[in-house]
Amino acid sequence: MTNPACERWHLLLQADHDGELTASEATDLMVHLAGCAACRAERDGLAALSEGLRALPRHAAPAALRAALTRQAAMPPAAAPPRPRRAWAGGALGLALAACIAAVMLLPRAPDPDAAAIASHIRALQPGHLTDVLSSDQHTVKPWFNGRLDYAPPVRDFASAGYPLLGGRLDYLAGRDVAALVYGRDRHIIDLFVWPSDQSGSAEHVASGYNTVAWNGGGMRFVAVSDLNMAELRGFAALWGDAGR
């Protein structure tokens, strides 16, 4: 059985097992293992489990999906006239995917990250997902993003106006890491996504029971998402305007 005194060795044991240990850590671990039967048993247990896991099935992609993607990879450059339907004639799935891709190609430039923000907001509302850094102090939240993002998002607390900062997290929108600032308003949660963008224009949406207000300022795109009513969400956005965005 596991010795509680050995707990500090566990993550090292695991890192060694996963080939992630530095040479000096490996040396320390070897010395400990030589004198500790419990940790040797732990190591053997990890090895046995890995062997079992690696024998589990990796599910191969359905052939139709592969065929559709293969054809897509072989599509002629834009200069040559594309043969949309013909190029995709690969079963119902291939056609469905082709139709979707055709639809995407008809969309205006760039996907709508504003809309993707709603999905991220819903995902974040699952237990344990809301914040990576839990703090109402903007001087704690702002530096937390240092080194995690290649830009510095503005962070402000609006507790005095009834929109307290609750924390922040790293999120992922439109293929890039973005800052998500989390605010409270009574019992509602507001996610504010901030990323550098040359996009312009403000927008408001209502979708899936969530309100979205988007604006830009200072070279950043701001998208606030919440189940809060639109009037109060606008009030939140206005605070950023007053703060100089």
Binding site: L11, S50, G52, R54, L56, H59, A110, Q126, D171, G175
Partner: protein, 170 residues
């Protein structure tokens, strides 16, 4: 506008990792048909993201889009109905030692069930590490969590899986 250049460039990046993409989706959503939906949608999302693609590791980039899509599906499903996990009944077998617990077909079936019953975040980490052979750093990027979180999630996942194996002994 996403044009055929983007589409074919994206497909060339994604194609070598299509099986990994599907396998990850399959393990995450635990349903073959849903996994297919997830991968299709991920491929569309990836196509729209291709112009911001500047990752050094294409597999990690593709898997990150797949996992994000899968977690979106899972979150939306959870909103519709809070479905309890189907914890599979374990078959006790008095003859086995812990080390032999995963060695035969029956043991592997039980192990697959135990993986499926793990919390989503733990299942994601263990599948990326053991089945997709991703490094801690890549797992951190894919799951969007710090390295230390990856290590503790992996440890917890492994303890739970070994615990499930031990439960099979009387």
């Amino acid at each position: 506008m996403a044009d055929t250049d983007d589409a074919s460039r994206f497909a060339r990046i994604a194609l070598p990792h299509l099986d990994a993409a599907f396998s990850l989706a399959r393990w995450l959503v635990r349903d073959a048909a849903l996994a297919e939906d997830v991968v299709q949608e991920a491929m569309l999302r990836g196509l729209t993201y291709i112009r911001s693609y500047r990752e050094e590791n294409p597999k990690a980039w593709v898997l990150r889009i797949v996992r994000t899509t899968a977690f979106d599906h899972m979150a939306q499903q959870r909103r519709v109905a809070e479905v309890p996990l189907d914890h599979a009944a374990e078959l006790p077998d008095p003859q086995r030692s812990p080390e032999a617990a995963f060695a035969d077909a029956e043991g592997r079936t039980a192990l697959a069930r135990a993986v499926a019953a793990l919390p989503d975040e733990l299942r994601e980490c263990i599948v990326l590490r053991e089945l997709e052979d991703m490094s801690y750093r890549d797992i951190a990027r894919i799951a969007g969590v710090p390295l230390g979180t990856v290590m503790s999630r992996l440890w917890r996942a492994r303890q739970m899986l070994r615990g499930a194996a031990l439960e099979r002994q009387p």
